[in-house]
């Protein structure tokens, strides 16, 4: 029963259940943005650099890139896992990392700009 599932979610909130909830398609209802602010991690794109890099996070965390430059930037995974599109000044892009691993990404507009997210 749906309502019962919600109840157990609110009582036993945790990374494993969060991951399970995402797999069950419930991410939009109980995503980390409202429930777990600690799981929201920010990367600033400023002065043609990503910082911090490398960034280490827990599996299931959402990373948000925000462009502070007057010049647009992108954050594009080297494996094609994620692609931000052009971020203008103050634009943001978020991606949720479900699986542990090391993820390299590049600004395709300025390919010297590279960064790494380590998911534990």
């Amino acid at each position: 029963m749906i309502s019962g599932r919600y109840q157990s979610w609110s009582l036993q909130r945790g990374p494993r259940l969060l991951c399970f909830a995402a797999m069950m398609g419930l991410f939009g209802v109980c995503g980390p943005s409202s429930a777990e602010p600690a799981d929201s991690t920010k990367i600033l794109v400023k002065d043609f650099m990503f910082s911090p890099t490398p960034l280490t996070i827990k599996a299931g965390s959402t990373v948000t890139w925000t462009n502070m430059d007057d010049e647009p930037h992108t954050a594009v995974s080297d494996t094609g896992l994620f692609k931000s599109g052009g971020m203008d000044t103050n634009d943001s892009f978020s991606f949720k990392f479900d699986k542990p691993g090391t993820y390299h990404y590049t600004c395709t507009i300025h390919p010297r700009m590279t960064g790494t997210v380590i998911v534990q």
């Binding site: 430059d69 507009i109 010297r112």
Partner: protein, 311 residues
């Protein structure tokens, strides 16, 4: 002049950077001679340069609205007025990329609407990296992909000149320069096979096809493989945009030239944190924006490049 003597021209490498407004260049015998703009303004001297074959417009960045130029639509309109006001209309226009700032459909639509005011209707384009940031990389190709069958590279002939349009903004290697790629290089080899060495060649792409400043990605990693194919030709002109300022180099029979933007200037190589928009006093902006006009001079055969600033 025979192909042999064209090839035997001195291979001296001359590397020059010009930042001034309204400089005119005539290429003769493989050596670049800067001429005075007053000469170009004088109809008699200008007539000797011949009818402009084409005009290069670059880096229009429609959608940009920051301090460095809050109105890129106005400066593009001003650019179009200059082209439309030329005594002899160029046969064609080439746009060396970054048509838009963020690859948005509305930006492409507005750019096309502005371009439609050009009296010269034939326009050939290549994309810049700002034109290909949409997730599916389709906005540019939906509008301009027909010429290349959506590959991004193609060639055509006009007035005895062979034009080659190349794309070097799609296959970035992390930390590296732009890339042409093996497929495109093989296509160029096949395309050039039937061309006589005496045919003037014009190559254009968005990012510079020689390394101007590697830390900012101002170059193309595998451009050497392109140059080795072009070396047998008596007259090769390589045109790019991307860096929003004029940098020119002559190497043997090849002239390399980057055009000003119509949108905003960028800093000289290595000045500041990166190649972003450069804010200059508003009364100086127009002098740092402009176009390049290219003519073929028949006797002696050469190619002349003229840079015109908006002010």
């Amino acid at each position: 002049m025979s192909d042999e003597s064209l090839l035997s021209r001195r291979k001296a490498l001359k590397c020059m950077a010009f930042g001034g407004a309204g400089t005119l260049f005539a290429l003769s015998g493989g050596v670049l001679a800067p001429l005075d703009l007053a000469m170009a303004a004088d109809t008699k001297s200008a007539a000797k340069l011949g009818k402009p074959l084409f005009v290069q417009i670059s880096d229009t960045h429609i959608g940009f609205n920051k301090d460095a130029n809050p109105d890129v639509n106005a400066t593009l309109t001003q650019t179009i007025d200059i082209v439309n006001g030329m005594v002899e209309q160029p046969a064609l226009i080439i746009h060396t990329g970054d048509i838009t700032h963020l690859s948005k459909p509305a930006e492409f639509d507005l750019a096309q609407q502005l371009f439609s005011r050009l009296r010269t209707t034939e326009m050939h384009t290549v994309p810049g990296e700002h034109d290909t940031t949409d997730a599916t990389v389709t906005e540019y190709f939906n509008r301009f992909g027909k010429a290349s069958d959506n590959k991004g590279y193609y060639s055509f002939d006009h007035a005895g000149v062979h034009f080659i349009a190349l794309i070097n903004v799609l296959q970035f290697k992390p930390g590296g320069l732009g890339t042409l790629g093996a497929d495109q290089l093989a296509w160029v080899a096949a395309d050039l096979k039937g061309q006589s060495s005496s045919t003037p060649i014009v190559v254009f792409a968005h990012m510079p096809l020689w390394t101007i400043y590697e830390p900012w990605g101002w170059g193309t990693g595998d451009a050497d493989q392109l140059m080795s194919q072009l070396r047998r030709f008596g007259s090769v002109t390589v045109l790019n945009g991307h860096i929003h300022q004029i940098v020119q180099k002559v190497e043997g029979n090849m002239t390399f030239h980057t055009a000003r933007a119509t949108s905003y200037p960028q800093p000289a190589a290595g000045v500041g944190s990166g190649p972003g928009p450069l804010k200059v006093p508003s009364d100086q902006l127009a002098s740092m924006l402009g176009i390049t006009s290219v003519s073929v001079v028949k006797h002696p055969r050469s190619i002349a490049l003229t840079d015109t600033a908006l002010a």
